[in-house]
């Protein structure tokens, strides 16, 4: 009858994020970045994955221990309206991490909520409303507040500004920058928007079909692009107008031989179809997954 076709969302990725830095993960939609984000926080479980958080291998610990660690690592999901419980008032959603952790008195919780609402520049009046009564931007602020409630060390932000108006996007990004600075957060920024990556992240990685094809310091990458795909993505005008930007999940090379970008690569050579490339360090803290560079 029918065979199921599996597509590897994440295939052989390896990177590190240092405390206090903002790490950007860029790629087209469907390249697996959301999956990567969820994997890091162990929201999706795979056995062939190893994740170390502050020295603890979270892929090997028990569920109960993981639950105790969760307050330290939070995720901001892509769609703010969907990630808030429609039946709960905004302030109840924000409070939830505190209630889960337990141990705080009513008064303390109330105070903390007020602080959070202030921190994200949300109108206290609005906090008493329901998600469907608020705009996308306001809901995203609420989601931010909720993520901060447990005093996390690490936040994964998955497309926090997509779907929002441009002015609101700017607001949210500024807000996040300030918070990151004030609270000394470590962040991972997942986005397809290159401007955002450039603005927000210290280091970044470019993803293509589940693999990282180029990684390093943000400014370095933007000024010295190496990988053919990265060039297509980030500076298409330099290529002379041959950029295809649709995600091409079903097309392309699903075989395990050769470079995953081979079918679309302008500069491909023979070896590219035969052997998978390895990560090569091109400069200090600038790596490329390619045979040629």
């Amino acid at each position: 009858m029918l065979k199921k076709r599996y597509i590897k969302a994440v295939d052989c990725m390896s990177f590190r994020i240092d405390r206090g830095e903002t790490f950007g993960l860029v790629g087209e939609s469907g390249c697996g970045k959301t999956t990567a984000g969820k994997l890091i926080l162990r929201l999706i479980v795979l056995t062939s994955v190893r994740i170390v958080f502050d020295g603890i291998d979270i892929t090997r610990i028990k569920t109960r221990e993981m639950r105790r660690l969760r307050p330290r690592m939070q995720m901001i999901f892509q769609n703010p309206d969907a990630s808030l419980d429609p039946r709960m008032k905004i302030e109840k959603s924000i409070v939830e991490p505190l209630r889960l952790k337990g141990g705080l008195r009513r008064v303390e919780i109330k105070e903390k909520v007020m602080d959070l609402i202030d921190a994200v520049v949300l109108n206290p009046e609005h906090a008493r409303r329901y998600p469907y009564q608020m705009s996308g931007g306001q809901n995203q602020q609420a989601v931010l507040a909720r993520a901060l409630a447990s005093n996390p060390d690490f936040i994964v932000a998955d497309e926090p500004t997509s779907g929002l108006d441009l002015s609101v996007q700017a607001q949210i990004l500024t807000l996040m920058k300030e918070l990151k600075r004030d609270l000394e957060l470590t962040t991972m920024f997942i986005t397809h928007d290159l401007e955002v990556v450039r603005q927000m992240s210290d280091r970044m990685a470019v993803m293509y079909k589940g693999k990282i094809v180029e990684m390093g310091e943000t400014e370095e990458i933007f000024s010295h692009l190496r990988h053919p795909y990265a060039k297509l993505l980030i500076a298409p005008d330099l290529q002379g107008g041959c950029g295809h930007h649709e995600a091409d999940i079903n097309g392309g090379n699903n075989n395990s031989r050769g470079c995953v970008f081979y079918p679309r690569c302008q500069l491909a050579e023979d070896v590219c179809s035969k052997r998978e490339p390895e990560m090569m360090e091109v400069k200090r803290d600038h790596q490329v997954l390619c045979h040629i560079f």
């Binding site: 939070q74 995720m75 769609n79 969907a82 990630s83 808030l84 039946r87 939830e96 889960l100 909720r146």
Partner: protein, 276 residues
């Protein structure tokens, strides 16, 4: 949410239901006579001032029997629905939330029960378990729980894929917490609707089974069995069976109005708030 009062269906349904509850609660005050008092001298009397609905073949006041019968009907309706809801929610949750083998087994069980048309199953169960209100209620619960299990399972399947559930998990919530605090409140709407309509159906089914002789036994006044009594006297004293039947119809109608109104109120909002 107080706009619900403006909904005509809810208004009608609620007023009748509240009246019924009042009548049932204050039956001794409302009824003009003792419902079980046998008085051969006045048997088969047509409606009069003394006996507004007439008397039956044993000289009992029909109105009084109907008033007290409301207690039985409401009790049966509520108990049957509560029992079915309990079983349905538990099994539906296990099936929908945890899935896997449990889901398959429970669904096969549901299919098995649903294979027999409900009236036949209820009849067979009530008949073989023996007479009595308790057995009647057990038989009806055994028939009704399947609908609730299915609805709960379906709703949970939809809700558990929503992002806020994943978000809650990300916050460190356990499965139990998520079920109680996030999933349940979001599946309440359809459950309320079918439970309300279900009470009406349970009352109807119970009356039918009592009419056939299973369930409540004489001399307890139950609307269905009163109709059975009236069968023999259809020509001479049709009011014996007309009034109990009317009572059943009005009661079931009330719950149907209420259920319909609730469905109108809850459905579109439900659809709006939870994007499919």
């Amino acid at each position: 949410m107080r706009a619900w009062i403006k909904n005509r269906n809810i208004l009608i349904g609620l007023s009748i239901t509240v009246t019924l509850i009042f009548i049932a609660a204050f039956a001794p005050q409302v009824a003009p006579h003792d419902p079980t008092e046998i008085n051969p001298m006045v048997r088969l009397q047509p409606p009069s001032k003394e006996y507004p609905f007439g008397t039956d073949h044993m000289g009992r006041c029909i109105l009084s029997r109907i008033v007290f019968g409301s207690r039985i009907s409401l009790l049966v309706g509520v108990v049957v629905i509560s029992g079915s809801l309990l079983i349905g929610i538990v099994l539906g949750t296990i099936s929908g939330y945890f899935g896997g083998l449990a889901d398959d087994l429970i669904m096969r069980l549901v299919d098995g029960f649903l294979a027999i048309p409900s009236m036949f199953l209820a009849l067979a169960l009530a008949g073989t378990l023996g007479p009595g209100m308790f057995n009647l209620m057990m038989a009806l619960i055994a028939v009704e729980w399947t609908s609730y299990a299915r609805v709960v399972r379906g709703s949970i399947l939809t809700v558990k894929e929503q992002e806020f559930v994943e978000a809650a998990r990300g916050l460190g919530a356990s499965d139990l917490y998520i079920l109680v605090h996030h999933i349940m409140p979001n599946i309440l709407s359809p459950i309320i609707v079918i439970a309300t309509l279900g009470i009406g159906y349970a009352i109807l089914a119970a009356a039918g089974l009592s009419f056939l002789g299973f369930g409540v036994q004489p001399p307890t006044p139950e609307w269905g069995s009163m109709l059975d009594d009236g069968r023999l006297f259809m020509r001479k004293a049709p009011y014996i069976m007309i009034f109990p039947g009317l009572a059943i119809m009005i009661t079931v109608l009330a719950f149907n109005f209420l259920g319909d109104g609730l469905r109108d109120e809850l459905d579109p909002r439900f659809r709006k708030e939870i994007p499919h």
